[in-house]
Each structure stands twice: as C-alpha cells, then as structure tokens.
C-alpha cells in the first residue's frame, strides 16, 4: 500500500485525502518530522502560502522537507503548494523549497472575483487530455528552467509541470472528480 503524506499545517488537506483514498493510496497528515518516516510520496496542499510557510518556520520542518526533495521521492504541490516548491517567488516572497527551477507570481490572475475553471488546452501530455482545472487566486509561472516538463497548459500558460519526480499544479486537481493528477503521483511512487 502506498502511503502519501499531506502537509497538514493549513489548507484543503481533506480534499487531498479523499482523492488519495479514491486512487487507492493511504493519506497521512504531516505535522512533525517523525510523520515523514516511511512515506512513499508527499503532497503540499492548497491553502495560504504565507500561513503554511510560517507554520514550517514554527515547526522547524524546512530541512526535513528539503531532505525529502533531495531524496527524489515523488511530490505534488497544488496552488500554495506549488508556490512552496518554486525556486523563487516574485511578489510577496515566502521561503520555498527550491524543488522547481522557476520563478512564480502569487495571485497572478487577480482576486477571488477573477478565479475560474477551464479545461487544459489541446496538446496536454498523453493521458491528461481535457483535464479540468480550477484556479483559485492562482499563481502563475513567470520563468521556468529548461529541464522542466510542461504536462498541461491553460490559455497557453503552463499549469501542470514536472521536474524529476516533483509535480506542481497552479490549479486544484483535488477539488474536482478527475483523479488523473493524483493517480500520476501515486503511480510514480510505485
């Protein structure tokens, strides 16, 4: 059985847990270093990136998470989670894990009245065609390094990307019934 941790400082932890159960994985909330033992993969959920980053300061968890990144185990960050995976945040900076070689812009589409949902553009990676994407005060990648694989775009913008075993979605696959992104994570965890 594949056990997938979900960083549980704040955010839509339940929604990720439900999605994981539906693809046959066991979710585990992560609130301290010991919770990371024996995980097959890790999710950084949606929420507020400042809140989650400050929680990581308080719990002194940054080094453990950086170790997790370097171990090469699969990770998925959605929205706030994707921000925490970035190399750099352009506006309202927060500390990050530098797991994705890119610069991200927070709240890049505007406030909540500009939040929207859309299907992935034609030409998404095989198996991800027509992926429904819900964007909530979403971030946007301003620059991405050469080695990054773009799995899906919306309106031409990269919204689901992969560097090594690390997946980053600027949208919320956990808020839809479409489980393909969670399935991709769990399958890569073997």
């Amino acid at each position: 059985m594949t056990t997938v941790g979900i960083l549980a400082i704040q955010g839509d932890v339940d929604a990720h847990a439900r999605a994981l159960e539906r693809v046959g994985a066991t979710p585990r909330p992560i609130l301290q270093e010991a919770d990371l033992d024996g995980l097959n993969a890790l999710i950084l959920p949606g929420g507020e990136s400042t809140t989650i980053a400050k929680g990581l300061d308080r719990l002194d968890l940054w080094d453990s998470l950086r170790f997790f990144v370097h171990s090469g185990l699969p990770m998925l960050g959605t929205c706030a989670g994707a921000i925490l995976l970035a190399r750099e945040v352009e506006n309202h900076p927060v500390a990050t894990l530098d797991a994705i070689d890119g610069v991200v812009v927070r709240n890049a589409y505007g406030t909540q009245v500009d939040s929207f949902s859309a299907e992935a553009d034609p030409g998404a990676a095989r198996g991800l065609e027509g992926l429904p994407c819900v964007f909530i005060r979403a971030p946007r990648w301003k620059t991405l390094g050469d080695g990054i694989e773009i799995l899906a775009r919306v309106g031409g913008e990269p919204v689901l990307i992969r560097q090594g075993n690390v997946l980053a979605a600027t949208f919320h696959p956990e808020l839809t019934e479409d489980l393909r992104v969670h399935d991709l994570l769990v399958r890569s965890a073997g």
């Binding site: 549980a8 704040q10 609130l31 406030t111 819900v134």
Partner: protein
Amino acid sequence: MSNENGNGGSDARSFEIKVGLAEMMKGGVIMDVTTPDQAKVAEDAGAVAVMALERVPSDIRRDGGVARMCSIEVIEGIQKQCSIPVMAKVRIGHFMEAKILEQLGVDFIDESEVLTPADEAHHVDKTGFRSPFVCGARDLGEALRRIGEGAAMIRTKGEAGSGNIVEAVRHLRQIMGDIRALTVLPSEEIPARAKELCAPVNLVRYVAENGKLPVPNFAAGGIATPADAALCRGLGAEAIFVGSGIFKATDPEKRARAVVQACTHWDDPEQLLGSCRGLGEAMAGIEMETLSESERLSNRGW
C-alpha cells in the same frame, strides 16, 4: 440568474469556485483588522485572511448607532498591504453594499449581524455574485437557509465583540448535533425534518447523506484566547474567525501567532500549552446575562 465570470463557468461551476476559496482557508484563522498596519501584523502571524473593518465588534457595541459597510479607502488600504484574501462585511439584506464590495474585488463578503441589518425580512440573494459570501448561523436550519441563498461558507454567529465563547459553543454544538441527528433518520423522514428546520429539502438530504454541511463550517463570535480557538476546532469548526480578540488584547502580535498555532495544533496539548505562554492580557469579556435580548447581535437575521 447569470453567473458568468468571463471564463465560461456555469452556475454550479461558479459555486464550486466560491466554495473552493473557503476550502483553502480550512485550518486557519481569519482576523478582523482596521488598518494596513494591523493587516500586516495578521499576515505576519500566519492569518489565512483578514476582515477589513472600520471598528472591531467590541467598539461597534460600545459606540452604538448604525454600523454600515466599511469605507472604501480603509478596504483599499488593506488590500494594498496584503497578499492574503481580504474579506469585508455588508449589512444583512444590503445587496447594493455587496455589489460595491464585489466591484472592489473583495475576496469574500460577510453578510454580517455585526452590522445593523438593512432588511429585517430578507437576506441577500447570493447566487448572482462572483464574490463568495459567508453568513452566520445559530443552528442547522439557519445554516441551510443561507446556503440555499448561495452562501459558500458558514460560521457560527457566537456573540461578536463579547470576548465570551459561550454563544459560539452553543451554536457549534447545536449545528453539529443537528447534523449528527440527521444522519440516522430514515429517508422518508427527511422532508418532514426539512419542514421543521425551515430549510431546503435537497440540502437537508445532502447533510443526512454526508454528515456535514455542503460548504465549510467555521466558528466566530467571542474567540479571545488560543484555548478558545482550540475548543471551537475540537467541537468541529474547520477554521476560526477572531474579531476583537486580537487587537483588543495587550500584545496583538503574540496573541495572533498563538491563536494561529492553536488552530493548527488544537489536538496536541504540548503545542497548545506552548501557544498559551507569555501572551499578556486577553480582551475584557462580557457576561451574557448583562446583555439584553436587543443588545445581542446573534438575534439579527433569521
């Protein structure tokens, strides 16, 4: 009713996007602020959102008179300061204040009993707005009536500005108890129960089948300490609002951080104890018996 947001969303899709932002606030603390400086304190402490106000509820209570939507300049000043979502309040039933806040790009609108009601019979029809709404409730029927009108988040009313947790506890226990009781009802008894609750039958059926509200369920009204925050979480609230409790305390920075910590670690006594150390004094509280029925803000709305 048009709900187009320029991106082709249907009404149902649009509702999911509104509830989505409420989902992102789970496990967090939403703090009342009256200035950009206070908003910075809240954000630095790890708040998931701020509520922009001219006066916190305890001052509204003290000053009396008619309490209205916050001035645009105050909200804009706070929006400029913050990277986290900014909420603001409208009077119950005042759909024009709501239109104005939506135009301002406010992230969440609180149709709030803390302000003086504009309409004693009707709440805002919240389905036609792109901005999501949060509304207060004292029991399941009230919560489902508001969701039926389009609210994307429910919070307990508690008793705002009182510094007394007793009403928030009463409302949380009522809502959670009402939900638990529904889950054991046979299907044919749902419509009669909906009639008793004065709530839409489809929503009553949803709660019976899922054991929870169709939108996130937060606590508000009287939270003054980290222990109060943890108590609400322990009673089933998925996140909390703190109104007067932060900036009416002697050390707002510390108290804000402590309440955030307690909201995350409500189930861990060691972390909770840590959150309670060195806080200074909490806001002064009010005994419920000293408030007449007309002074109780939770009696506003139906």
